[in-house]
């Protein structure tokens, strides 16, 4: 396969890609004569125009958000090689290796259900509905590890306002792409495909809740849920659904993928809570990736000041 690199990509940027392709991937990519360019321009052969935004492209000037934490960031390599994204394989290293299959252009996202203005957005248009901000959030995985990630995105509330939900809209359901060709992990029924998630309307409207389209100032790599994903920093990572194609406003609590799989282990809310253990392991502590000692897990992943009011009066042991 011959890869032409358009001249508008600086060679310095391409070189930097090599740094985070780890050794094995590097050899793999090289043997497929794809190298770094292949990762950047996954799906070049489907005649993409050079004007489109592609994974790994700089996202321009970003507003710095006051919601950002000042904690030490995890490296780009850690964030992009250690992923739970079962659509691209169940080992943590699989998504980075299978990222090449997930082409993200063209990509449409349908806004539908209980809204006055249903609309299907092209991803490039969707990325312009609100100014993009950098949000440095903690991400706490249900497996008791965590990272600090500089997401790029915009508040979900901005999109919700444009859709004008009706009075019946009590929840929002999110649905991931279903396409086993682009998501080879879907050939194995480890979860019910497509992946589905949901938020209560007040959670969706919360200023911390964002739709992310990038990280480290660049468009999202496929393994991190390109081209658009949810980020809800006070909930376990699996609530932050990746590679979204449908956002549906509904009147009842929607089904969610991990809850369908094991309802005793994964609730609808799945707020980070050190006092409510996963039935099979403790949630009291976590390992921040890159650190040796475990640290104490914080209620609502440290976002309690902002979000505790959403759950006032609720028994969080029952609504886990």
């Amino acid at each position: 396969m011959l890869i032409k690199i358009p001249s508008d990509i600086k060679s310095s940027e391409i070189t930097s890609k090599k740094l985070y392709l780890n050794r094995r991937q590097f050899i793999l990519a090289a043997s497929a004569s794809a190298l770094s360019a292949g990762a950047v321009f996954s799906g070049l052969d489907t005649s993409l125009s050079t004007h489109q935004v592609i994974a790994g492209e700089k996202l321009g000037d970003l507003h710095k958000s006051s919601f950002s934490t000042s904690e030490k960031l995890n490296s780009f390599k850690d964030i992009t090689t250690y992923n739970n994204f079962y659509e691209l394989g169940t080992d943590k290293s699989d998504p980075a290796e299978n990222a090449k299959y997930l082409t993200t252009r063209p990509w449409m996202v349908a806004i539908e259900g209980e809204v006055k203005k249903p609309k299907t957005y092209d991803i490039d248009a969707l990325m312009k509905v609100a100014p993009l901000e950098e949000r440095v959030y903690r991400l706490r995985c249900v497996e008791a590890w965590s990272m600090v990630i500089p997401w790029v995105g915009f508040p979900l509330s901005a999109l919700v306002k444009l859709a004008e939900p009706t009075g019946n809209a009590k929840y929002i359901q999110f649905i991931t792409l279903q396409d086993p060709k682009r998501m080879p992990g879907q050939k194995v029924p480890v979860l019910e495909w497509p992946y589905v998630e949901g938020l209560r309307m007040d959670e969706a409207m919360h200023p911390l809740t964002i739709l992310s389209v990038g990280l480290y100032g660049e468009t999202l790599p496929a393994q991190n849920g390109a081209p658009i994903r949810l980020v809800v920093p006070w909930k376990y990572g699996f609530k932050s659904i990746k590679s979204i194609v449908k956002i549906r406003f509904v009147d009842k609590q929607p089904p969610t993928a991990w809850n369908l799989m094991q309802s005793q282990e994964y609730g609808f809310y799945s707020n980070v809570n050190p006092e409510v253990d996963h039935p099979r392991w403790s949630q009291a502590t976590e390992r921040r990736i890159g650190e040796f000692f475990r640290r104490k897990t914080l209620m609502f992943n440290g976002y309690g000041e902002q979000v505790a009011d959403l759950y006032r009066g609720m028994d969080l042991k029952k609504y886990y």
Partner: protein, 210 residues
């Protein structure tokens, strides 16, 4: 293939390859973003593989008719224990850094940890009594004691099965291999006892039906 000390040495070195691989990954900094988790999974995986290999010796010996295969069994079993020891040490030292209250709570409260710890503890007396002197000293009791390996293997596979979140393919594969290996033994026992069945009246009436 004829057994020889040289062959045994080759197998011994081969059993150290996983450890070498792990040290190599550590040396080049390729233990993933979560090295402790990687080392834990890696050593646990190899402990199970060696445990299954150990249990494979007897059936394979009968099928192949290669009696000398038994001379590798102790080594394979000790390597299973060696990787289990690394696995448990990783958990105790790297993962929990000697936080014994947390470890004890984990062992009591988390069924997958209980199963894994059971498997590990059961392997300790087997490793200790693996010497020729111990075999002589324990006589018939040695064999009875070493049947604990079946319990350890089942507990080990269950430990893995209870650990995974959704993708049960690997633990199920191990479970199937274990089921075949234990099934082989049932068939062997049954075949050995078969003549005895002939003493029973029901056996003859059963025969007359067919």
């Amino acid at each position: 293939m004829k057994y020889s000390p040289a062959l045994k040495a080759v197998v011994f070195v081969a059993c150290l390859i996983p450890l070498g691989q792990l040290l190599y990954y550590a040396w080049v900094g390729d233990l993933t973003a979560n090295p402790i988790e990687f080392i834990t999974h890696f050593t646990g995986d190899w402990s199970l593989i060696f445990l299954l290999a150990t249990l494979g010796v007897t059936p394979l010996r009968k099928i192949l008719g290669w009696n000398d295969l038994i001379k590798f069994r102790r080594m394979l079993g000790l390597f299973a224990f060696f990787y289990a020891l690394l696995h448990f040490s990783t958990y105790m030292v790297l993962d929990h850094f000697f936080d014994f209250p947390a470890i004890v709570k984990d062992i009591i409260k988390r069924p997958y940890v209980t199963a894994g710890f059971t498997a590990f503890v059961l392997m300790i007396p087997l490793a200790i009594t693996s010497t020729a002197a111990m075999i002589r000293r324990l006589g018939k009791r040695w064999q009875r004691l070493h049947r604990l390996v079946y319990v350890a293997a089942i507990a080990g596979v269950v430990h893995f099965y209870w650990l995974v979140k959704a993708d049960i393919r690997r633990p199920v594969q191990y479970g199937l291999v274990l089921a075949v290996l234990l099934g082989c033994r049932l068939v062997i026992i049954w075949a050995q006892r078969w003549p005895k069945f002939q003493k029973f009246q029901w056996f003859h009436s059963f025969k007359s039906w067919s």
